[in-house]
Symmetry: C2
């Protein structure tokens, strides 16, 4: 449908925009050899994992309507597993960028980091409970039916939290960048190119909510 | 119900915590005579308007179940009008704090401010369309029925946007405060007391979504 397409386009744009932001404007990428550039992997991997793959995983049931239910389940679960893996790498990247810096930066001090950890942990739990409830044969049909609305509700709630976390992350990064600006004599921060990702993310969330309502 | 009570308690705590944060830790309040202190009204008024009154307005239909429908409508509309008024004053306070500062600060550069304006404008439109559709006698019953699900969907979507905007605002304020910290020799920002409002806000949103689902 048109909404599924819209979510794809917005999600992909968000990924491309963060990648360009970090890769082009923020100096590109490196792993542990250069912690400051390792940081740049964080936004990119988090957006791929917690926004793009996350939404796509949810949409699997809408897109492949005529596939066998079991196959869609596996696809849905695998995409969310992918989301979890990207997120884990993205988190490793920030923590490294703090710990391996010449002047190490404290961890977990910000609202962004608190919300972020809660979001990823809840996502992990959601994944585990989805897996045990719907893919393993153990559970009775009645229990599955009871859990289903909670699975859907939390799936959307955690996506909203991920969106809000990403917006806070972008705000933080923008303000950290602003810090060096007074030295250049200018007060207006370079936010021109940072305004699109959140738009994408926001509309993405909105799109998903609309689709799933 | 328990959820309504929970939302009340969380909403009130959020208001009290921001008020204490601004009033006690950030130096208190003033109007145009002291733009820096005038800023402090911004978070307080925005949280009262866009979080507390907003949620309470929505809950009116749940709380006063046995009241006459017309009265609840008026109450619901009035609370949301109150939310709009508090928000307008809160916005006046930030703009003043930027424009009247000795070194004026540019307006509308941040993601927070963009999302914030969009949120308040959408809220205003929602209010107007609610008023014209449900309180004036003109519209046919069929059109009202058609508009209702959109009214509810957007009501919740805009509340979520308000929550995300507030979280970004808190993040900004926290980082602006952090800026002065290296001079004190410490790198860890004073976020200890700032961690509660977003929790309140977040859970508020969640609570509302749960209630209204
Ligand atoms: C939903 C996606 C995201 C999650 C779950 C997340 C999570 C986290 C976590 C847990 C930390 C703490 C790392 C530490 O303390 O060592 C962190 C730090 C950081 N993140 Fe993110 N992040 C996300 C998206 C983003 C995005 C999109 C950006 C920016 C474009 C960003 C910018 C930052 C910055 C600047 C820091 C360092 C400052 C701080 O600790 O708050 N994040 N993130
Ligand atoms: C953190 C990971 C997960 C998230 C965020 C998530 C989220 C969601 C959401 C939002 C829906 C509603 C889709 C819609 O209404 O179109 C859904 C449906 C569903 N999910 Fe998950 N899910 C996750 C993991 C899993 C896993 C691992 C399984 C097990 C294979 C699973 C099984 C299902 C099933 C069976 C449905 C019902 C589809 C239907 O019949 O409409 N989920 N999930
Ligand atoms: C949903 C509620 C909120 C809305 C709609 C909102 C809206 C806005 C707007 C439109 C501006 C731009 C003013 C200008 O450019 O002159 C602004 C600035 C600001 N707000 Fe908020 N705000 C909200 C909540 C908060 C909260 C809770 C805080 C902090 C605790 C906060 C902190 C700030 C700060 C630090 C600025 C100045 C920096 C900037 O322009 O981004 N805001 N807000
Ligand atoms: C920006 C302001 C407004 C917002 C955010 C808003 C939001 C909402 C929400 C979320 C609901 C669903 C409540 C529930 O499911 O328990 C609702 C219901 C409703 N609203 Fe509004 N509303 C606003 C203004 C108005 C105005 C001005 C009127 C006109 C008097 C109005 C009339 C109604 C009616 C008739 C219902 C249906 C209640 C029912 O029968 O369940 N709304 N509103
Ligand atoms: O905590 C951090 O502060 C900034 C700053 O060090 C440079 O932007 C950054 O990137 C972090 O990860």
């Amino acid at each position: 449908t048109a909404l599924v397409l819209a979510v794809q386009i917005l999600g992909l744009s968000a990924v491309i925009i963060v990648a360009v932001w970090m890769g082009h404007f923020r100096g590109g990428f490196a792993w542990q050899s250069d912690p400051a550039k390792e940081f740049n992997f964080h936004p990119v991997f988090m957006v791929i994992g917690m926004i793009f793959l996350y939404s796509d995983g949810i949409l699997a049931y809408r897109v492949f309507r005529n596939m066998k239910k079991l196959y869609i389940k596996i696809l849905h679960g695998m995409i969310h597993l992918g989301a979890l893996i990207f997120s884990a790498v993205g988190l490793k990247a920030v923590f490294d960028s703090h710990n391996l810096a010449k002047n190490p930066i404290p961890n977990m001090y910000s609202l962004h980091s608190w919300m972020g950890i809660i979001t990823v942990v809840l996502f992990g739990l959601q994944w585990l409970s989805g897996l045990t409830s719907f893919l393993f044969p153990g559970l009775s049909m009645g229990l599955k039916k009871q859990y289903m609305p909670h699975h859907v509700f939390w799936g959307i709630a955690i996506l909203t939290m991920a969106g809000a976390t990403a917006l806070m992350g972008i705000t933080e990064k923008a303000l950290f960048m602003m810090k060096t600006f007074p030295e250049n004599g200018s007060k207006i921060p370079v936010l021109d190119y940072s305004h699109k990702p959140p738009e994408g993310i926001l509309m993405n969330c909105l799109g998903i909510v609309i689709v799933t309502l």
